[in-house]
Symmetry: C3
Subunit: 254 residues, 3 copies
């Protein structure tokens, strides 16, 4: 993919975002994109290929937005970026559907083969479709030359925390490389202190200021600005046997 | 290696091809190089270091060709690039030997220490010999300044499929990161449909258009243009217990 | 981190040094930095983040030296670079303490939030503090604008080999990706040949010229210029059950 991009846009600075997306895990790819895209300049072209449906009828798309340009399969990978722009699918957590585009966003269904490699395989559109399209976008080609605009794109339902009296119930959205559990509970969601965090029948008293500030299982506000569950110098996911989607309950004072 | 290259050629755009070559596996390194080099511009300098013989008498070489420039130990890493240029060792599959160079190719035995680091270790020629040589080539130094031309280089025998009536017998050349088995059987090798693919006593009926188009074990034409054996959302190599060199039989209609 | 650096210094050439530092292992990070920094141009800014104490009172620092510029937590990561400049903590092996700076070195305690991201997390200072500081240094900002100079920094005691008659006793400093054991015994430390190397009650007769020159357990002078213990085509650490800090004894002729 990098060879293809550099052949088309030789001055492009190419950065690998993540290599740790579990194969074909769209939710993990979407989460990791959502966690990092905002640290790049707005003119960046993000190529995001987690593509279990490669070769099926799922559409390749280019999405131009005030938050950046994204080239990816239309399979939900932009769910967290969309949520940042205020668009969320209302449905069962992590189930899929179509959502309208936020204002000032354009989505193009990439169909113009002039901007693809000559022989497109059925299995590696990252190289044959997404990389050359991204290269041409980085080189300044108008996305409208690459296909037709579409009114909406695919997303999965990003669960939002539920407040119930002095309790907040959120979910694990992602498990990182260190086994930390990353949730959807933001600082502003938290009930009044003192807090108790409950996950998989384990209770954690209070939030730690950082990873070294307790022994065993701890809860803290992580680098993405959301509640994380961690084990100091250990692996929380393995310790708890917890998976993406697991409930996390934060109980505050009454 | 990158520090050394950038010290010599500060404007070089360095791309990591693959980090997943199993240690000291020349056949895997050669396969992965063969799968990707063609997607880079022809003036690219490819530095390829899978080097179990580092410190022995195996020669460091620079090979200039119409397909690109390659800097590597002379140990067979260019076998698939050579095969693309029509040069193949005729011998038992994966056994080694010397082959003459294709037309318009030049191979230089790198012996001029002026283009190496000052203190060459016996164990890390990637950093001390190959990286600086590649840096100087990228910076425009004439390869003939770096050593003497040699008439032939090392290759291993790349197995070719055997056609026998309505049957083709090919081999697994490589197992990728997902556990897919990549073979040497090209589309043009296939007998008339309907097809049956046999590997390790498992039979697969017909080819799938893509990875999601069947349950369990499937066969499809992969991104390198050759027959692949895969398990939908799974690991075919583990499922079959198959290794590089395993026979794959495709039987067509009579 | 790369997005942050490129936003501030768009022309920076970013190189990943290593991705294989075990989480929170300062000694491994320090070793790997010490093994590679010298191969980069002296104007390079090295960002080194192995940071188990993130969010605690450990200081973020920028260190400008004739050997390069380093941006890192003040936790011992520069121990091997300091040793190269002649400064070593005298204490039990791998225990921590403070050391004065070598001549011509400047260390700045990074406190000026103008050079950080706007919302600094408590857990990811790599992105929020170290990357933007490095970006501004690469873009030419004076380090003295970023905070106050400090007279000394943290280091751990790098063990030095002990010579006793015709014997040298050194230590394993690091275990690499291949399972090779890397020691602190340099060529100039070796007693007169013939040599016997003893580790974990295994004896090795003589040094091998390279990894392929013996069967089983071998000893050789490695690419960092120090004695290594390896298993030809195997994993020495697993074979011996040896860990960092293990004694390695070299006995010479009398």
């Amino acid at each position: 993919m990098k060879g293809v991009i550099l052949s088309i846009a030789p001055d492009a600075a190419i950065v690998d975002l993540v290599h740790t997306v579990p194969p074909q895990n769209i939710a993990a790819g979407a989460y990791l994109l959502g966690a990092v895209y905002r640290y790049f300049a707005k003119h960046t072209v993000h190529v995001v290929v987690v593509d279990p449906g490669v070769g099926t009828e799922r559409a390749p798309i280019a999405v131009k937005s005030p938050l950046g340009t994204f080239v990816c399969p239309d399979n939900g990978l932009l769910s967290y970026v969309l949520a940042d722009a205020g668009v969320r699918l209302e449905a069962d957590p992590f189930s899929h559907g179509r959502v309208p585009l936020p204002e000032n966003w354009t989505a193009i269904h990439l169909t113009n083969e002039r901007y693809w490699l000559e022989n497109v395989s059925t299995t590696f559109h990252g190289r044959d479709v997404f990389a050359p399209s991204a290269g041409f976008l980085a080189a300044g080609v108008d996305p409208f030359a690459m296909g037709k605009a579409v009114p909406g794109i695919e997303a999965f339902a990003v669960p939002v925390p539920l407040r119930r009296g002095r309790e907040v119930i959120g979910q694990v959205l992602h498990i990182d490389h260190f086994g930390n559990l990353l949730t959807n509970i933001r600082e502003t969601d938290l009930p009044p202190t003192p807090l108790t965090v409950t996950i998989e029948e384990h209770e954690i008293d209070g939030l730690s200021p950082h990873y070294q500030s307790g022994a065993g299982l701890i809860a803290l506000m992580g680098s993405s600005g959301t509640l994380e569950i961690a084990v100091t110098n250990g692996n929380a996911a393995r310790f708890l046997g917890a998976a993406v989607g697991a409930d996390v309950r934060v109980t505050g004072s009454s």
